[in-house]
């Protein structure tokens, strides 16, 4: 199923490419492709506070996630959408949103799901929430 790009995410992609071409500070400059990919994943989610709350619960319930760094978790999510973190290119980064959408639908079809705080979530979206949580905790020192 093709998923319409939201106006919000289209805007984000446009701003991000304008920023990088102008080499504006604090605007994605110096961001590696894996970091860019991780940010793309996190930015698929709204309500970051709630996403981080779900992410924390998911990490706490899942020992494998607990031992991961944000980059390892990013690699894991990317591999579930057939992308290799070490060889990812710009076009692939732009396709992350659509790929994750498709993956999530497929998760629900395949029953690749998990329950978090009473919610039934796809494993991919639960990992995306976990990434928001790990990013906040591990980057805050």
């Amino acid at each position: 199923m093709t998923v319409k790009q939201s106006r919000r995410s289209v805007l984000k992609v446009v701003i991000s490419s304008v920023c990088s071409s102008l080499l504006l500070p604090g605007c994605g400059t110096g961001e590696s492709k894996p970091e860019n990919a991780a940010r793309q994943i996190r930015e698929q989610l709204r309500h970051h506070g709630v996403a981080a709350h779900l992410g924390r619960l998911e990490v706490e319930a899942n020992p494998k996630l607990k031992s991961m760094t944000p980059m390892q978790l990013t690699a894991d999510v990317l591999s579930s959408i057939d992308l290799d973190i070490n060889a990812i290119n710009d076009a692939q980064i732009d396709s992350i949103s659509e790929r994750i959408s498709t993956r999530i639908r497929q998760d629900f079809t395949d029953e690749a799901v998990t329950t978090v705080d009473g919610w039934l979530l796809s494993v991919t979206e639960a990992k995306a929430c976990a990434l928001v949580f790990l990013d906040i905790t591990q980057s805050s020192g």
Binding site: M1, V3, K4, Q5, S6, R7, R8, S9, Q44, L45, R46, H47, V50, A51, H53, L54, S97, I100, S101, I104, R105, D107, F108, T109, E111, V113, T115, D117, G118, W119, L120, L121, S122, E125, C129
Partner: protein, 500 residues
């Protein structure tokens, strides 16, 4: 003719071709079928035309099983019976509900859905339901211009449900019965006991009493017990002359297999990823062909067979949200919602799923006579022990999971359920559907049932039973349309039996 039994002479003896005990949906339906025939019919109704607390107290008793079960308020004891406050939701049982399912112990009716089809059609006007068209979803969507959910049709379906006004039998059909020359409705006539001959194979007469009034007896060629899903069993258990175990109870089945639908309201909340998702087909009432209809989500036969589940249905009501945070909104972008603002937690952005689950028949879930509590006629009160099985909890969990999976797959929202927090116990708000079934179950074999396929009590040649006590399994559908269909079928059978 309507007669006040309190004005009868003490010790009177009445005589009829057919005696119906109980003036609710079942009893009134059968009485109406005999209007204008050559048969003299007596209908004995415990109450009067209005609610009376003293008569209602005859329904009091104890519940020693699951909580949330109020025996006396779940039934009404006056003319019209419990239809004086029923809600009117109606749909025939599915064909699979009649089958013996190897994954569901004690399942299987001795009749099929096809055997009831014409009676379901005849029940439709009795319940003022308009056109008989439960399988035509397209008609409902065309008439309303509303869309059904694009469900995975191997698992779940949108099904059409009927909404009776709801018909109050005691009001709607009172005059018709009052005018009928061959029908006598005795009000304030409490049947206390059925008295059989010495070998207990034939009912000779009934012992009847009015509270603080006369006692009298009624003899008939045929008797029909139609006092509701619990009281049918109680009256058999109270009829101990020559059968200390109760009439028709040689195999200790009367009162066992007591069932009710398991309700979770809500079983699940869906937090939308798209704002204001339109689900009016499901939660609003629509006028179609002279009746009111709405849609539900239900299990498909394929799903039930594949996953060996009990049947279930889901009502969609905009009554939430019952969760703390609007999780659905987190995933809006991923579900293709191109809005500027994140979704907030409002009623418009969620829907509550009310689950109605078929229980697995359980012989230990039962009604018995109280050992120490007596009613105003000095007869033992009822004791109910409503039990559900571990399997029921498993079925409920899976039902909720399937709905949540489906909303995720369709990209419309995410599901929240108490069961997803703890799958090992029922949420506190689990309740019974107020549909009392199973206590005089129908079977092809007296070893596994109280009545045969014609609703005749095994071993008693002139006693029949009407009402949901005869259902061996109950599907997900509300029972009254099936009660009325079976009552119509029984009427046809008796007309044949009593032909000159």
């Amino acid at each position: 003719m309507l007669i006040d039994s309190r004005e009868l002479t003490d010790g009177s003896s009445l005589q009829a071709d057919i005696c119906i005990i109980g003036g609710g949906a079942a009893g009134i339906t059968i009485a109406r079928e005999f209007i204008g025939t050559n048969n003299k019919v007596i209908l004995l109704e415990s109450g009067g035309l209005e609610f009376d607390q003293q008569i209602q107290s005859l329904y009091s008793g104890d519940n020693t099983g699951l909580p949330s079960f109020d025996i006396d308020v779940n039934r009404l004891r006056y003319f019209g019976g419990t239809t004086n406050h029923w809600a009117g939701h109606s749909r025939p049982l599915d064909p699979i509900d009649f089958e013996e399912k190897e994954w569901m112990p004690h399942s299987g009716w001795p009749i099929t859905r096809a055997d009831l089809e014409t009676y379901y059609q005849r029940a439709q006007p009795v319940l003022q339901l308009g056109g008989y068209d439960y399988e035509n979803l397209a008609k409902l969507t065309r008439a309303t211009g509303l869309e059904a959910l694009a469900l995975d049709e191997r698992r779940l379906k949108t099904a059409v449900y009927g909404q009776s006004p709801p018909t109050r039998f005691g009001i709607e059909y009172r005059n018709e019965l009052a005018r009928a020359a061959n029908i006598q409705v005795y009000l304030y006539a409490n049947v206390l006991e059925l008295l059989p001959n010495e070998s207990a194979v034939h009912v000779d007469y009934l012992r009847v009493a009015s509270f603080k009034g006369p006692r009298f007896r009624v003899a008939a060629r045929q008797f029909i017990l139609a006092t509701g899903g619990m009281e049918n069993a109680r009256l058999l258990l109270l009829s101990k002359q020559f059968t200390p175990e109760g009439l028709g109870n040689r195999n200790d089945l009367v009162g066992r297999y007591f069932m009710d639908h398991v309700l979770l309201r809500p079983g699940l909340d869906v937090s939308f990823t798209h704002p204001g998702l339109q689900l009016g087909l499901y939660h609003a009432l629509h006028d179609v062909e002279g009746g009111k209809k709405f849609a539900i989500v239900a299990a498909t036969e394929h799903l039930l067979r594949k996953e060996r589940l009990a049947n279930f249905r889901i009502h969609l009501y905009p009554t939430g949200p019952h969760y703390k945070t609007p999780i659905g909104g987190i995933f809006s972008d991923l579900d293709g919602f191109a809005g500027e603002n994140p979704l907030e937690k409002t009623r418009n952005n969620s829907i509550a799923m009310h689950m109605v689950l078929e229980p697995v028949p359980n012989p230990d879930s039962r009604i018995t006579l109280s050992q120490n509590k007596l009613d105003i006629f000095e007869q033992p009160k009822l004791e109910v022990k409503w039990l559900v099985e571990d399997a029921d909890l498993t079925h409920a969990y899976r039902a909720m999971e399937l709905i949540a999976l489906e909303f995720g797959r369709m990209g419309l929202g995410r599901g929240y359920s108490q069961l997803f927090i703890d799958k090992t116990r029922w949420p506190k708000h689990m309740e019974a559907g107020k549909h009392h079934c199973g206590t005089t179950r129908m079977s092809k074999d007296p070893k596994t049932g109280v009545i045969d396929a014609n609703c005749k009590v095994f071993g008693v040649d002139n006693l029949h039973i009407a009402g949901s006590s005869v259902f061996p399994t109950i599907g997900y559908a509300n029972p009254t349309i099936t009660i009325v269909a079976l009552a119509l079928r029984l009427s046809d059978h008796l007309k044949y039996t009593l032909r000159p």
